[in-house]
């Protein structure tokens, strides 16, 4: 699980062009959207693409994203449970 969390942090940093942010800067329980990492609606859509591309998870309803992308902790749990890649 720790390996997945690290991988997720690395993927998010590169996929979303988060300059000057290191894996060690992202805490597992930090909010990804809003006040935490400050991601926005387009980042959310990119994360949906990442879910499918890297983990084979296709969201049937994109608005589910709100609950899944809350923090690295919750996201990694969701991916562990549902990944097909």
């Amino acid at each position: 699980m720790d390996e997945l969390k690290k991988e997720l942090k690395r993927n998010i940093i590169s996929q979303l062009n988060l300059e000057d942010i290191d894996v060690s800067d992202i805490n597992d329980h930090d909010a990804l959207f809003g006040d935490g990492l400050g991601l926005d609606s387009i980042d959310a859509l990119e994360l949906i693409v990442m879910l499918e591309k890297d983990y084979g998870i296709k969201l049937s309803d994109p608005s589910e994203g709100k609950n899944i992308f809350t923090s690295i902790e919750l996201l990694s749990r969701y991916i562990s449970k549902n990944r097909t890649k």
Binding site: L16, N17, L18, E19, D20, G38, I42, L45, E46, V49
Partner: protein, 206 residues
């Protein structure tokens, strides 16, 4: 119709940023645009992490406009109503090709929303507007080459029609790793003459 003026101009070319023909930033010409842009950002901007999400064209437009859109050159209360009229030859083709790459292989088909939103050249104007809170008139012209005549005609039309008192005009092109940015602000009163001859002179000399 009283003649209009240009209050300031800037250019970004060969990894060098100039304001009114004076060099502000000069980096190794062998650096890629991305490397140059990052260095320029760290020296000139610093407080805008969204910069790194932008495509090359928007980064270029952003850096050029940042040189001109500061309170030394235009008062904040005037900035809000400034018109922005940019132009280029390649539209957003550099980013279009990158986006196309995300859909070309049916076995690796992952269209990127973050790239797609930049596949319009007027997004450059959107990014400048957001950064500087500019809510004025916009237009993005795609032209065969830099055309001072069309830009002067339209800037005059906007001011004469009372749509704006200030117009940020320019050329921002990024294509196949070659780039060129040139911007100037037109106003009713200023140091330089607003004429296509002067504009062509500073475009070509910079």
């Amino acid at each position: 119709m009283k003649d209009l003026s240009i209050i300031a101009y800037c250019s970004i070319k060969d990894n060098t940023i100039k304001l009114n023909n004076t060099t502000r930033v000069a980096k190794d010409p062998k650096l890629s645009f991305l490397e140059f842009a990052k260095k320029a950002y760290k020296e000139q901007v610093l407080d805008y992490p969204k910069f790194f999400k932008m495509d090359n064209l928007s980064k270029l437009a952003f850096l050029a406009s940042d040189v001109l859109c500061n309170s030394d050159i235009i008062k904040n209360e005037h900035k809000e109503h400034m018109a922005i009229v940019l132009s280029n030859r390649s539209s957003s083709l550099d980013t279009d090709r990158k986006y196309q790459a995300t859909i070309i292989d049916p076995k690796n088909y992952y269209p990127s929303p973050a790239l797609f939103v930049y596949t319009l050249p007027n997004i450059t104007i959107g990014e400048i507007s957001i950064r500087h809170k500019i809510k004025g008139e916009n237009a993005f012209f795609v032209l065969n080459k830099f055309n001072a005549e069309i830009l002067t005609q339209y800037a005059i039309s906007l001011i004469e029609n009372k749509k704006s008192n200030l117009v940020l005009c320019g050329w921002v092109d990024y294509d196949e790793k070659k780039y060129n940015a040139f911007m100037y602000i037109v106003a009713r009163n200023g140091i330089y003459k607003h004429s296509k001859e002067f504009i062509n002179k500073i475009f070509n000399s910079n």
